[in-house]
Amino acid sequence: MTDRILVGTRKGTFLVEKMNGRFGAKLAGHPGVGVNFVARDPHTGTLWAALGHGHWGAKLSRSLDGGKTWADAPQIKYPEGARYLAMPDPSPEGDGDGDPKAVTARNATLLKLWMIAFGQPGRIYVGTIPGGLFVSDDGGESFELNRPLWNHESRGGDLFNGEGSGKTHWFGTPASEGEFAPGIHSIVVDPRNTERVLIAISTAGVLETNDGGKSWCSRTKGMTNDYLPNPEAEWGHDPHSVVLCAGDPDHMWQQNHAGVFYSSDGALNWKKVSQPEKGIHFGFPVAVDARDGKTAWLVPGKADMQRMAIDGRLFVARTEDGGQTWKELRRGLPQECAYDVVYRHSLDNSGDTLAFGSTTGNLYVSEDRGESWATVANNLPPIYSVRFG
């Protein structure tokens, strides 16, 4: 457990530490640069940051001295020949005016570094857009694209060595920096068996490997959706974030575009535990207790048409019974004129302490499992990531 919080924002990396009984934030690196994710390698203590330079592309940065100084890390690049089948961009600015049926094979170049996760000592995972899982087995000195996932049948097969099936079930996310492409935003490693890894993709679904990435299968059973002709379709899902209980790893949680889902059997079956009438349905982040897999927290938002705090009153929701009942936790949070939205990586927990940050630059901490909240800062840049570490 740690009291230090790493915060990635649109304008730099901030460190939040407790001094004289109060949490305080300070700019710790990358001033002016978009920071999608910051995390600490638990094996080495190295801090890793996923940067998105407006002009200069996506870059990995690392600090060997706890955030005092940062330098570019070995960079992630898609290998020669990496292609993916891309849907037409449905956005008004995109290429949606073209042939709406045109699925095109695009050369892959790095659009965004979205998420960093750590496996056994030396292994680092990075989830990217377009839809890449990059893996390092040398502590981040080099990264390789996981090809079995890249070539998965759900996205049209092997385009390195042919034209594949021509059909993909991986769509896109507006988070993809100028193109409409899928992205890997959640990577969870089973602490019992680090060869077992689950990932989540916007927009495709959840996949699992049990052999260290040699093969992948879908884990979307029960993830019913409300925006496809078949609510039980295997693909086409929009998980916003997926987490796993470290102390009870069969318990997994998912905040999805189409509701809140819980699994008590390691993602073999998901069960929708939304309670829309109470506002427990839409949102981006979810956190699970490290010991009790039935306890989880959300920061709900007003459905996809609005994406902001419900009725201008910000709250955190907690369940302690696997989603059967939810408690609204509002003490210390603004209860009028608050329209924050909290992104998928911007809620985290460590022991009884929780923290979350919004795109309005507000950062809150609770030291009593969410019962009450204290404001750390109100004027940070838009917050993309909040991690203890």
Partner: protein
């Protein structure tokens, strides 16, 4: 020899280049970028993506002309040309 000038924005990532006279031997813009990367490893990936295409929000001028071949950087540079590498103004 070609004289290369960089936007000061790049000095925050490559401070060693600040105040340094950059003269490289090159006959195309692509060779200019390669030579720069030899001097300062990693800078090519700031200017171009992994396919060698000039990034969308980066501009390179040879004398006063913006490069035409953004995909391969095949534009010719003559001896004693001034090559200017800038961040693009993309509205604002």
């Amino acid at each position: 020899m070609v004289n290369v000038e960089l936007t000061p924005h790049l000095f925050q990532f490559f401070p060693e280049l600040q105040g340094k006279k950059l003269v490289v031997e090159a006959s195309t813009v692509r060779e200019v970028v390669q030579q720069l990367d030899n001097i300062e490893p990693g800078i090519a990936f700031y200017l171009c993506d992994e396919r060698g295409r000039l990034r969308k929000h980066v501009n390179i001028f040879v004398k006063e002309e913006m490069v035409a071949d953004r995909a391969n950087l095949g534009d010719r540079v003559e001896p004693n040309s001034r090559v200017l590498i800038m961040q693009a103004l993309s509205g604002g």
